[in-house]
């Protein structure tokens, strides 16, 4: 039996018990090995604890322990007979936008954690808005510490109802959101079904993670592939070989398909889809391939192959949503670099538009700020030096996303999304 791979992210605010939940998932799926458990037991005894503190399994760097904070996204790995999991564990406080955006950008599902005693808090609304903005296809609301509210069905139903309202206003479909009551500390409904929640008939967290579809929306979208590298063997028997290497960003490609090369606009036909293991009858989003074309066209890194009958638009003017991730503020008029697919081009950020505000019960887009600071999410107009083939992020994530880069330091300043993927309906 082949096992597939689910990439998912966890998000939650401080003290929601996220480290314990992640530790519980690793521990109960037997993904933790003897020497790691012994290390945790030693550390727990040193701290004077009676039972092993599972959160120590995901304890961070010494640099973080010294400051008592979690700085950065950590990646965890576990597997069951059904599936393998890559978990992006995103810390909730310092630089929460940066961390949540990073974790969500590669996730097919996000587990959002709340404390049953506190219910939905401001941090929950921020995280949910980022997950909606990044178009994470599925969300699990894990209501943790249900042992501390005496497994009270009424308390949990009220939180679930409030979150359903929030999710709907952020644009999540009803079937994209699942609520699961858990206690990471004692293990209720994480891997093992709890006898203390007889009123809960849904799946445990792990059962849900094992059964959700892993194919993202990219698979059903029209074909897109950025050319990464041109493969030219320059050997006698392969003298005329020109292969365009890339990872299919969206859709499916097969020999005979008509494609357009962008931004130039030349049309041609796919003659072969190759891998080192031989030609494929077709290949779909996520697979790295080498595409051969019927016509001898001069194509280089940075160009995009796309379905000829459903091509992205080519433009040097972008209306976009920016997640500002750097300490250095963004002032309108800034000259930066923009990386889209395999092309990096100079960009001027024009006007900054509305900013996402979390002052009200439901996140709202409010008046344009003078500049953007760290953690801000706002609309902006950009002008690029080279024309780019783009889709709205809401339609195709891969051709709708970009980075903004600081030219002198090379640092990544912002995550950019083409269009306005988050529309809030109060």
């Amino acid at each position: 039996m082949t096992r597939d791979l689910l990439r998912f992210a966890t998000a939650g605010s401080v003290d929601d018990g996220k480290s314990t939940l992640v530790g519980r998932l690793l521990y109960d799926t037997k993904s933790v090995l003897a020497d790691q458990i012994e290390a945790v037991q030693r550390a727990s005894v040193d701290k004077g604890l009676a039972t092993p503190d599972l959160s120590l399994l995901v304890d961070g760097l010494r640099a973080e322990r010294e400051q008592g904070i979690t700085i950065d996204v950590a990646y965890r790995y576990f597997g069951t007979p059904k599936r393998e999991f890559v978990l992006a564990d995103t810390p909730g406080h310092v630089q929460y936008t940066r961390n949540t955006v990073t974790g969500a950008s590669t996730a097919e599902l996000a587990v959002l954690l709340v404390d049953a005693r506190n219910g939905i808090v401001e941090q929950t609304r921020r995280h949910a808005a980022v997950l909606a903005l990044l178009r994470v296809p599925r969300v699990v609301l894990a209501i943790n510490k249900i042992d501390l509210v005496d497994y009270d069905e009424g308390v949990l139903a009220a939180i679930a109802k409030e979150f359903a309202g929030l999710a709907r206003s952020l644009g999540f479909a009803d079937d994209a959101v699942v609520t699961i009551p858990v206690s990471a500390l004692v293990g209720d409904n994480v891997v093992e079904r709890s006898e203390r929640t007889p009123w809960y008939t849904g799946p445990t967290l792990l059962e849900h993670l094992e059964s959700v579809p892993v194919t993202g929306p990219e698979v059903g979208a029209p074909f897109r592939m950025a050319v990464q590298y041109v493969i030219r063997p320059r050997r006698e028997e392969l003298h005329d070989y020109r292969g365009y290497a890339g990872q299919i960003a969206a859709g499916t490609v097969a020999p005979g398909d008509e494609v357009v090369v962008l931004p130039g606009g030349t049309r041609t036909t796919v003659s072969a889809v190759e891998t080192a293991d031989g030609p494929l009858p077709s290949a779909t989003a996520g697979r790295s391939v080498t595409v051969l074309l019927e016509d001898d066209i001069d194509i280089c890194r940075g160009e995009v192959l796309a379905a000829a009958d459903a091509a992205p638009r080519v433009t040097d003017e972008l209306e976009a949503t920016l997640c500002w991730l750097a300490e250095k503020p963004l002032r309108p008029g800034a000259r930066l670099l923009l990386k889209h697919g395999t092309r990096t081009t100079p960009v001027i950020v024009g006007a900054v538009g509305e900013r996402l505000s979390f002052d009200a019960e439901v996140p709202t887009w409010t008046d344009a700020p003078e500049q953007l600071g760290i953690n801000d999410i706002a609309h902006a107009s950009l002008r690029t030096a080279d024309p780019l083939p783009v889709d709205d992020y809401a339609d195709v994530r891969a051709t709708g996303s970009f980075l903004l880069i600081d030219p002198p330091t090379g640092n990544t300043l912002a995550a950019g999304l083409v269009g306005t993927p988050l529309v809030v309906t109060p």
Binding site: D4, L61, V86, V101, G246, Q247, T290, I405, G410
Partner: protein, 304 residues
């Protein structure tokens, strides 16, 4: 598009392979002088295999760099040379011994040379002007690696600053660096030890023979089975005895222990790894057991 052609979905290994190939091609497209760090171990052998697949039918457009502690297993050096020959690769070797001979490095009292690899590595990066250095590090190995980026910037001193890491978004890697800086690249970041073994089996990748059970004269030190060698054999009360062992990692002979094993085939190794109750580094690498933050400290100093 022809909707009747069914597109096979990717299983976990396909997905990890495609991700690694994408990373190799990004580096080939954006850097001038990339190099693959190669120890002859299973992870770096896997890197070379994936690089070959990424650019087929053209040759791999990178050199290999082996930082050689001199404390080797002859089987591994033999394997290395055959692999380089078969794939037509260019191999650079930085001999730690040369740095000791000319005084740039001093032998440690315990004879271990793993920590001594950092200086020859950094010197070689400068000498050859390498700007991207591929390593076989995996995030599941150790917790300092769990937060490592796939593309990780190092300053002119080779140092890693976990507080200054760039956010890594979607699969848009930002490898921009100033002259003198370089980027470490980890294409198999998201693989687990079991993924590596399953993929080696699926692809029939050849490995050095020391990964499979064999009879060897070993002695017990700090709970590990070490082999006799130029790094110093058994001391006073340590007795040599013949055991059936295999290695789970290839490292400096002075601090890389063997495990008792009868697994002589890939199937048996995978069964053993699946049932194993110790992580590969915890079981057999003395250098990682020195302190709780051992790997974090070495990474910050420029280790790979």
């Amino acid at each position: 598009m022809d909707a009747s052609v069914s597109a096979p979905t990717l299983d976990a290994l396909d997905s990890l392979e495609s991700e690694a190939i994408h990373i190799f091609r990004e580096v080939a497209g954006e850097f001038d002088r990339p190099v693959i760090l190669f120890s002859g171990g299973k992870d770096s052998t896997l890197l070379v295999h994936l690089a070959a697949k990424a650019f087929a039918p053209a040759p791999v457009p990178f050199a290999l760099l082996h930082v050689d502690t001199g404390h080797n297993y002859p089987e591994v050096i033999d394997f290395r040379d055959r692999l380089v020959e078969r794939l037509g690769l260019r191999l650079e070797v930085a001999h730690v011994q040369d740095w000791i001979d000319d005084g740039r490095l001093t032998e440690r009292p315990d004879g271990t040379r793993n920590p001594l690899q950092t200086v020859p590595l950094l010197d070689s990066i400068v000498e050859h002007k390498f700007d991207a250095v591929f390593g076989g590090g995996r995030r599941d190995e150790e917790r300092a690696r769990a937060k490592e980026r796939i593309m990780s910037l190092r300053d002119a001193f080779g140092r890693w600053d976990p507080r200054k890491q760039r956010p890594e978004l979607w699969n848009l890697y930002n490898g921009r660096h100033a002259p003198g800086e370089h980027v470490r690249v980890f294409p198999i970041s998201n693989w687990t030890e079991l993924d590596v073994w399953r993929y080696i089996q699926r692809e029939s990748i050849e490995l050095p023979s020391i990964y499979f059970a064999h009879e060897r004269e070993v002695f017990r030190r700090d709970g590990m089975w070490l082999a006799e060698g130029p790094w110093g054999g058994p001391r006073g009360d340590e007795a040599l005895e013949k055991r059936s062992v295999r290695y789970r990692t290839v490292g400096d002979g002075s601090c890389t222990g063997a495990i008792e094993s009868t697994a002589t085939t890939l199937d048996e190794v995978i069964a053993e790894v699946t049932a194993s109750r110790l992580t590969e580094r915890g079981a057999t690498r003395a250098d990682d057991r020195l302190s709780e933050a051992a790997m974090e400290d070495r990474k910050r100093e420029g280790y790979f």
